[in-house]
């Protein structure tokens, strides 16, 4: 009988050798005369254990990681194919080796679902990621897929939008606007054509949840977009994926073909009177295209120049038509909300941040990966407890939350609960849920300078505070670092940040002051400033 083995095909796993591991598995199995079937999945999100391979056993899936091709032979010797339990027919060699080693293989992690890091999570959006074969519609259905669409069709547009509003789901891209309200606005418009646009331009450093979902569970995004289309009366959807994500592009393309073939995309979706189809579009390396209006310009074939709002995309969006534009995670959370009901989802979370957030731990962190949990967990728990501190073993000095436009938080603020309002109250943002950990070797003045430099590189150029302010910002920080008229230049920097924050058209110029000012406020010593003076201003 053939044994099922699971090897991630996720880009993060490929980057650390998952393909080589899969090839070695095949080769060693063939030589030993074992029949195996290798299923390429997404990643479970425990990246420090990648490549993490799993084997199906009667008790469940047993994991091993991080595996290198050189480990495969010894894994087979330790009864890999039965998950480490000696098979009834023990080969003499393997039995002997087990006896000698006297225990399970050092890479054996036990039942994957029981790994504490995974077990502590509340996986709603990521329930299937790393579990199923992302190319198989049948596997998706077997794991609860398309139940949300079924329910959406039975509810009808108005009731289904009500469900999304009641769930409390807010935009996971960072802005946190209630998803259901956006849908209702578009549903109330009359137009010959409406669009659903999925923002998969996940450019924030420290974030990779969109990529993981697209590579590991692409059908959930297709289902979410289809539900959105039915809700607002749109027949066409676009997924705008950044060009830095070639694996996600390929996975989505393949899933779209399979969904069309399976009758859940295209004309008369799932036998309903609704038509809905989706096309993937690839970005071209502009960070600002993650801003929704800039993304729409790009989709229309223009420079990714931000549009002034109003009019809102809900009224005048893609090609001037009413458009729902949502982040990948917002749309991917919709199927479970429809399947389990608004109350089920809303019961997770805290305050006005309802449901779960896929949080991404990255940078210099020991246990980096994707941790989906209800809002409300503190930053300290995430970094020290779940993340396990730094990979370098040195003390954590700062974390940047929410990407290049997010604030740097010192240890003193590690009691901040992870929710939209709590972070805003401390001059920060949760953004797309990325947390980048830095140890005590970080130079915060350099990080502040980089924030301005990045803004200058990526500014679309439409508004002056962002276009000019970022370049002036780099120069002013250089003067501060160089000790030139420091006090006066810090006043200029604060003033410049104020202008950018309130005078920029979009979040690029408007939020760049967050990393800059937070670095200055919390780590003044790195700017050559004696701490007491600035702390008084805090």
């Amino acid at each position: 009988m053939s044994v099922r083995l699971f090897v991630p095909g996720d880009a993060g796993a490929l980057a650390v050798g998952a393909d080589d591991v899969a090839a070695a598995l095949g080769k060693v199995a063939a030589r030993r005369g074992e029949t195996i079937e290798i299923v390429r999945t997404g990643s479970r999100g425990l990246y420090w254990l990648e490549p993490l391979i799993e084997v199906m056993t009667p008790a469940g899936r047993v994991g091993y990681g991080p595996v290198t091709p050189g480990d495969i032979e010894s894994l087979f010797d330790s009864d890999l194919l039965t998950g480490g339990a000696p098979a009834s027919r023990i080969s003499l060699a393997s039995g002997f080796k087990r006896l000698l080693s006297g225990g399970p293989h050092p890479l054996r992690l036990g039942l994957v679902d029981e790994i504490p890091w995974l077990k502590r999570q509340t996986r709603l959006t990521f329930a299937r990621c790393g579990v199923i074969d992302p190319r198989s519609l049948a596997d998706y259905r077997a794991h609860g897929g398309y139940k949300g669409l079924e329910r959406a069709l039975s509810l009808g547009s108005a009731a289904l939008i009500e469900t999304v509003i009641e769930s409390g789901l807010r935009g996971r891209g960072g802005a946190g606007f209630p998803t259901g309200i956006k849908w209702r606005t578009v549903a109330q418009t009359t137009a010959p054509q409406k669009y659903i646009v999925c923002n998969a331009d996940e450019g924030d450093s420290g974030t990779f949840a969109d990529r993981m979902i697209m590579e590991g569970d692409p059908f959930v995004l297709i289902e979410g977009m289809t539900i959105a289309g039915i809700a607002v009366g749109a027949t066409k959807g676009y997924i705008y994926i950044r060009s830095e994500y070639p694996h996600a592009v390929a996975a989505m393309e393949a899933a779209l073909v399979a969904a069309r073939r399976g009758g859940v995309l295209g004309a008369r979706v799932a036998g309903s009177p609704h038509d809905f189809d989706i096309e993937v579009r690839v970005g071209a390396g502009a960070y600002v295209c993650g801003e929704e209006t800039s993304l729409l310009e790009s989709l229309e074939g223009r420079r990714g120049i931000v549009r002034a709002k109003p009019p809102l995309p809900a009224h005048h969006g893609l090609f001037g038509r009413p458009t729902v534009i949502n982040n990948v995670l917002s749309l991917a959370s919709v199927p479970v909300i429809l399947e389990r009901g608004a109350a089920f989802y809303r019961d997770f979370g805290t305050g006005r941040s309802r449901g779960t957030m896929p949080i991404q731990l990255a940078g210099n962190v020991k246990h980096g990966g994707l941790f989906e949990t209800a809002f409300g967990v503190t930053l300290g728990e995430l970094v020290d407890d779940i993340g396990g501190g730094t990979a370098s073993g040195r003390p954590v000095r700062a974390v940047q939350v929410g990407g290049p436009l997010g604030a740097y938080f010192p240890r003193a603020l590690f009691d901040t609960p992870f929710d939209y309002e709590a972070f805003a109250a401390r001059d920060g943002l949760i953004g797309h849920g990325g947390i980048v950990v830095f140890d005590d070797s970080v130079d915060m003045a350099k990080q502040a300078r980089f924030a301005m430099e990045f803004c200058a590189i990526e500014s679309c150029g439409k508004c002056t505070p962002c276009r000019i302010g970022s370049t002036r910002g780099v120069e002013v920080i250089d003067r501060v670092i160089g000790g030139v008229d420091r006090a006066a230049n810090l006043t200029v920097l604060a003033d410049l940040c104020h202008t950018m924050k309130f005078g920029s058209l979009c979040a690029l110029g408007g939020f760049t002051p967050y990393p800059v000012m937070s670095a200055l406020t919390h780590f003044p010593e790195d700017f050559g400033v004696t701490p007491p003076r600035l702390q008084a201003a805090e």
Partner: protein
């Protein structure tokens, strides 16, 4: 990476293939980039004609996006992630090492046209930082040794 020399007929075929899409300029430019390794200057008026745009508009789009090259890259393209998560994991030192070993700055192509070294702002592999991409292949957990292996491969 193999790219074709400029050929107006091929360019026309590329345009014709993508033109039917809504907002087809980016797909056309991506296809051009894939075929010729860059957006050749003579392609600009052809695209403008086909889409009823001005040459300035097409030029504006070509120059706005980092992906669209004006000149073909070297035989190999090594992209090093320079964003915060990779900075936190030691990416700065690796970028400096790559520059020094190849004798070119980020954004430059080696004089023998073998390798183009480029910064990239996030590959979404931030939990296995520092990361790089060599001709479309992703590499994580870079250290000096793994970087050197990549550099050797890129110089072939």
């Amino acid at each position: 990476m193999n790219h074709e020399p400029w050929n107006a007929e091929t360019a026309n075929a590329v345009i014709a293939q993508e033109q039917h899409r809504e907002g087809s300029l980016l797909p056309i430019l991506h296809a051009m980039n894939a075929v010729f390794g860059c957006i050749p200057e003579p392609a600009v008026p052809m695209i403008a004609d086909a889409l009823n745009l001005s040459r300035a508009e097409v030029h504006g789009v070509v120059t706005f996006y980092h992906d669209f090259r004006r000149e073909p890259a070297g035989r190999h393209v090594l992209k090093l992630c320079r964003a915060e998560a990779c900075q936190a994991a030691g990416g700065d030192a690796l970028a400096a090492r790559a520059s020094a070993k190849l004798g070119i700055a980020l954004g430059e192509t080696s004089p023998n046209d073998r390798v183009t070294l480029e910064p990239i702002y996030c590959l979404g592999l931030c939990a296995v930082a520092p990361t790089a991409m060599l001709d479309g292949r992703v590499v994580g957990r870079l250290d000096a040794q793994r970087l050197d292996a990549l550099l050797t491969e890129a110089q072939r």
